[in-house]
Symmetry: none
Subunit: 220 residues, 4 copies
DNA sequence: AATGAATGAGAGTTCATTCAT
DNA sequence: AATGAATGAACTCTCATTCAT
């Protein structure tokens, strides 16, 4: 829950009768956060389409006009959702992978960490998926970030001799396949937009594919 | 062009001064087709969001009101798009795979056939992708159809001994991964919503993953 | 009253329970007229600023959305107001001047006809004046029309020897002065945006200026 | 430039780190001036409509709230613009006319002085013109001031025998005509809201009308 | 005196759907 | 069966004004 506390908690409303002294900038940041939070929740629960300014501000206990003190437009806040949350995701995964040594171990930990993240922040998956349509620039950027990092990781593993000797172009394609795998499995195991329960079998399948492919081993 | 003739042709407008002599049901089907066609084109070119009734009917050379003689609502026609086009895709793939013998050959042919299809019917990719958001029921159904067929195919290959001896659950996960791979690679290699140019390297990468996994072969 | 009947009557609302059979295009024209009429009244009475779509449609007994079936935007109808009413004004003046022979007589009749027009159609003055700000393109066009016609009229009179032998450029400036005179006198003698009562003294002053200038005649 | 220094200079911003040591009332007057100045510039450049409080205060380097320490409302400052600038215009014209002896000379000097003023203070023309719509009370007052003075001037000239023997009412109408002439000619010769280039021909035309009227002199 | 965030009414516009013709 | 005008709810966004700091 610690991870979600800052960003995904459903509690982060603006509290007009706050407990005590706050500086103006503190208060201002709180309001901005409340709006961001409310937008993330709305998009996560009902999609970008239904995340109207009216609903977002209502959820944040603010007047509609207040929104425009913090964001230039509806598109503006949409374009911020994925970068902010995507960075959190990356940080989470990196932290979980730290300490792993082999390519294989890193892959498995990273795979599990991805699902751990969307389990704790169920909004994220929908925000990520719909961003392709509603915040395409942000989505492209996010994808580029991830794909680039992933590609470097694969290239190093290849150069170290841990991964098959494939061309950069081929590795680039594989990066997309692996990212795709995570995303679709998340969708596959999501229940009611809310909970993703990844069965061990899925991890097995993923790792089997990575380590041995699908074909029956000749000697077995 | 034969494939696209029925569904993706830009010609299928209603011709008010048609060559005459049609039965009422023929005429009725023509109108319905024209609407469907126009909707598919609009969604394919501009996305579900911009496919308003007004634009769809305009493209079909019909009045707005006519739409509601054939579809109960805007959502209604959206929900039909994917099932109809998805069936065409499946038919196309099945036909291309016919005659292949080994699992490996079938996989490669099916993989290529998928890209062949979206190359000939560029609308399809967008309709498919956005359906997750705008026609979720249809999308789930489509996915279920495909996944079920794919799973059966994998199970038979496993039982025949061509594919590794994984549990049904694990195969189910793999199905998602393989479908995901195709979808994301299509996005990856799409240019301007219009053309998908799949490089051979991508096929290589995909087949390598399937046949050998990613790890360096021990003896090499 | 005949002049104002078509355009400026306050009665031209849409009557939902109309008396009898009308073709669709008749009905359609009526609705368009009602909107135009309502807009003219609103602008005439309260100015462009307060002529919101909401108020215009309310006055025409129509829903807000209906407005956009007939005009592409608020600016659109604003841009139509002056051309339509300005043409009526010109027609009225031309008709009143018909039959006059000398330059002097034509001028006086035209001068009186202008005030006769705005007396019968009190909206017009405000629409004309504010158009400079709210419908500048229309205003420029209207001004150009009038100024061009007026200039030709002065040139012919000069060439005939009725008017002093001034350069075209000087006549061009005079045209502006004469139009300005009418416009400001209308403002001067307007009471409550509603009634313009032109005193005979004003006609005398205007004609005196035109025929003799302001200076004391030397021999008198 | 001396004329524009007080009112039209683009420099008159509030300088937060001023050279210090000012009495409270001095400082207060400075702030008020800065707001007035900013408003005049905004209205002059973009019109009353776009002169929002936000834009005015931004241009004056002040916070929005500060505005309301000096003016009761937006309308309030609009209503001050024309009286203040109009007085400057009158002062300028009076000064330029000083020393002229005949009615004719005074008229020509005053005519030229008007255009000299708006040439040096290009804001003024727009402020003046739009005031009729956005600050009607101020506009009426301004007009009354000017018309009254002008009328007295004409009356004296008439009584002296320099001007034709017209009734007061007729002279009242002529005042409007002469003011109108200036205003419209300014508009006629304005280029891009910024520069008014009055050609000599326009002066000729104006003075010809005043001294001889438009008709061909009988003996010529 | 100066600040600037909060407010909420109101603006123009779009669009799925209805329904009389 | 086809039409297309009418509807009204919902949308994003602006802005004068207020007020606690």
């Amino acid at each position: 829950m610690t991870l979600a506390r800052h960003v995904a908690s459903g509690m982060a409303r603006v509290n007009p009768a706050g407990p005590a002294r706050k500086t103006r900038v503190q208060r201002s940041e709180e309001v901005r956060d409340a709006l961001f939070q409310a937008a993330a929740e709305m998009v996560g629960e009902h999609g970008y389409i239904d995340a109207s300014i009216s609903r977002i501000t209502q959820r944040a206990n603010l007047a509609q006009g207040t929104f425009y003190n913090y964001f230039a437009s509806r598109q503006d806040i949409f374009d911020e959702l994925l970068p902010v949350l995507g960075a959190k995701m990356l940080a989470h995964i990196r932290q979980q992978v730290r300490g792993a040594t082999s390519f294989e171990e890193k892959e498995e930990r990273s795979f599990r960490a991805f699902f751990g993240f969307i389990r704790r922040m169920p909004y994220f998956l929908r925000i990520l998926n719909e961003a392709e349509i509603f915040a395409p620039k942000a989505h492209r950027q996010h994808f580029h970030n991830i794909a680039t990092g992933y590609l470097g990781f694969l290239q190093k593993a290849r150069d170290r001799g841990e991964v098959a000797d494939l061309s950069d172009e081929a590795l680039g394609a594989l990066v997309y396949i692996l990212i795709a795998a995570r995303s679709y499995l998340a969708l596959r195991y999501a229940k009611d937009h809310d909970l993703v329960e990844l069965p061990e079998e899925a991890v097995t399948a993923y790792m089997h594919l990575l380590t041995r492919g699908l074909l029956k081993a000749p000697g077995s």
